[in-house]
Amino acid sequence: MNNIYLDYAATTPVDERVTAAMQPYFTQVFGNPSSLHRFGQQAESALEKSRRVLAGFLGAKPSEIIFTSCGSESDNLAIKGAAFAARQQSRANHLLISPIEHPAVLNTANQLADLHGFDLSFLPVDKYGRVSPTEVQKNLREDTFLVSVMDANNEIGTINPIAEIGGICRERGIYLHTDAVQSGAHSPLDVNSLNVDLLSLGAHKFYGPKGVGALYIRSGTDLSPMLTGGSQEFGQRAATENVPLIAGMAAAFELVQVEHDQRTNHILPLRDYLIKQILTKIPSSQLTGHPEERLVNHASFVFEGVDGNLLISILDGTGFACSSGSACKTGDPEPSSVLTHLGYSPSWALGSLRVTLGKDTTAEDIDSFLNVLPGCIHQVRELKS
């Protein structure tokens, strides 16, 4: 298959240096980090080294990093864990989130409201999907225990002013969680300048393996564990640690930091060129999300009167892998709830396209994509429904 991959926001290939870093922990250093003997100690040493790598780059203490199975689990633990601890300790009951959060946050918050009686309210967002710190200030209540606002949106790439939002929450003594799963590959994340108490990461978005994530938990933040059992991960998450995947996550995260400037300098001009060309070449097209405050690899559009699902299929058949907020493998297109929230009508929202670039994307890839995209869109528009 020679298809060109332009869906790095969905997932990324594991860097070969990362697979190499994982190798010893499958068969050689296989011990259980909780075991007392040398086998266990070697595994534990790898685990703690990985924790220190993440902590170091995030500006956190090692004891503030716990490993999970994925970004979604990190979001679940942050939100449910904070909710149940708040209920037990302070009787605070109110949770404030952005309406265009990833489903891992949105559906977790909805479940807390529907099944457990928590009071959930949503922050307004502007036409780019940004949450304004002033609105956070206005919407905080006496009984608010948590605000959750994503660092960058997966669908439209917009980056939120997390540091300012965090400053406001901090003054009021309310926890701020941010889902940084999409930004993990791009932005240097510093938990102190971001003013966050909880931050979720998933390794497979930054050339690490699938099945491993992490949650930063600021010291003193009360969370009830969601996975109960042994006392691994400072009692915040039971289960024998997945040492090979954790080692992979740490290796991948280190590469993100070390190669950050080089990757950004490569991707950013390509993305800007792509956006400019698409908006020029394709009639009735719009960029979605913020024009500047967006992920460096992220380009997202809507095209009026286009079946996004069909467009993605045709592009795939032509050799380009992209995604769409409305596309769904089951052929049941719904206008993306993110775009609907931003005020796009169904005739625009159904025709969304997300093109996300990776560190190995080339100018030739983008040019050949730009050669076929206008034709594909024209074709889809011509088909009678």
């Binding site: 299929s313 795939d316 032509t318 493998k329 052929g331 429904s385």
Partner: protein
């Protein structure tokens, strides 16, 4: 017909053994194969049986085994307009429509074919049991399957020369038994999907419940009378009955009674003994001639008035390019307006159309 290998073919996949083997055979022959399934409309709270989640999952799994791409394309609005509305209207008008015919004509060999072409395909393939043949000079011909039990030309008589030229039936020369064996050889699952020639869009429900909602007049109780005008009871709704039906009338009578006619205006079902049932001549509309041309003179042909009924000899006279009159050699009891009459000479399917209401 030998399309060039490496040509791109879209295979309509259902997750069942037939379309899976069709896809496997094409892949083996060197075609660039892409699997597709249409998301069809279904009644609220139900899944369309042709694309239910388990069918999709199975088709996806099979596409994975064959290492071919697979896409589900949304056709819900189109299917509703072209198949479901005519189905509802048909019952409202007192006929017994066959939605699969409209689906093949306006959804598979139109909507899907167009999208297949947009995906760069040269051909559309399906797991139907039927054959296409063409000679250098002559037109494309549609022939019955080698497996007489499985032959599906009844549903395919709607195909025009243009559509046939873009169609491949990979199972053309195979029997169901051979297809099952091939599935085993290809290590594909051999499960049959529920027969797709069925009312896929009412889910597991009863089509009568669906009609009660969408065509209330067709499911309104009314009188049953006999040919002398004598009351013989009450029916639950005309849509529940077809011409020639004997079961479920709920009448005790010394001689068996059959549905002879439906009087739509008075919502009355007219019953009588078998001798009043036979009909030797009837008309067919919306005729498609596979050759593209109606015969100038009356032709002898065998005609099939339901998918599973036997063929009977007749003489067919084209009254214009898309209407025919059919004179049967001996009368048939269950000629049902709305169903298809399909014409054959030996293995050749000549065409067919929709039986007209009197």
């Amino acid at each position: 017909m030998t399309p060039p290998p490496s040509a791109r073919v879209i295979v309509g996949m259902s997750g069942g053994v037939d379309s899976s083997v069709a896809a496997a055979l094409l892949k083996d022959q060197g075609y660039d194969v892409i699997g597709m399934m249409l998301r069809l409309w279904s009644d609220t709270g139900t899944h369309n049986r042709c694309c239910a989640p388990d069918a999709q999952q199975e088709a996806r799994y099979i596409a994975g085994l064959l290492d071919i791409p697979f896409y589900v394309i949304d056709a819900q609005d189109h299917f509703y307009q072209q198949v479901v509305i005519p189905f509802i209207n048909g019952y409202t008008q007192g006929i017994t429509p066959n939605p699969c015919l409209n689906c093949n004509r306006f959804v598979r060999w139109d909507f899907l074919l167009e999208r297949a072409k947009a995906l760069g395909a040269d051909y559309l393939a399906t797991g139907h049991y039927a054959r296409i043949q063409n000679t250098a000079a002559g037109p494309y011909q549609l022939l019955k399957s080698r497996d007489a039990d499985k032959d599906q030309t009844y549903f395919l008589h709607v195909l025009t020369q243009n559509k046939l030229s873009q169609t491949i039936f990979p199972l053309a020369n195979l029997t169901k038994k051979q297809v099952r064996k091939l599935a085993e050889e290809y290590a594909l699952p051999v499960a049959d999907r529920p027969d797709s020639q069925d009312l896929c869009f009412v889910g597991q429900g009863d089509y009568r419940d669906f009609l009660r909602k969408s065509s209330p007049s067709s499911m309104k109780p009314g009188p049953i009378i006999d040919l002398d005008g004598k009351s013989r009871g009450e029916h639950p709704g005309l849509a529940d009955f077809t011409i020639g039906q004997r079961k479920k009338l709920g009448i005790s009578s010394p001689e068996p009674l059959y549905v002879i006619r439906k009087d739509l205006k008075n919502n009355t079902l007219i019953v009588g003994s078998r001798e009043y049932l036979g009909q030797g001549k009837f008309y067919v509309d919306n005729v498609n001639w596979i050759s593209g041309e109606a015969p100038a003179d009356p032709i002898p042909a065998n005609v099939k008035i339901r998918y599973k009924s036997r063929e009977v000899p007749s003489v067919i006279t084209a009254t214009n390019s898309n209407t025919v009159s059919i004179q049967l050699d001996s009368p048939l009891a269950d000629i049902t307006p709305g169903q298809a009459a399909v014409f054959y000479q030996d293995d050749f399917c000549l065409g067919g159309g929709i039986i007209r209401s009197e």
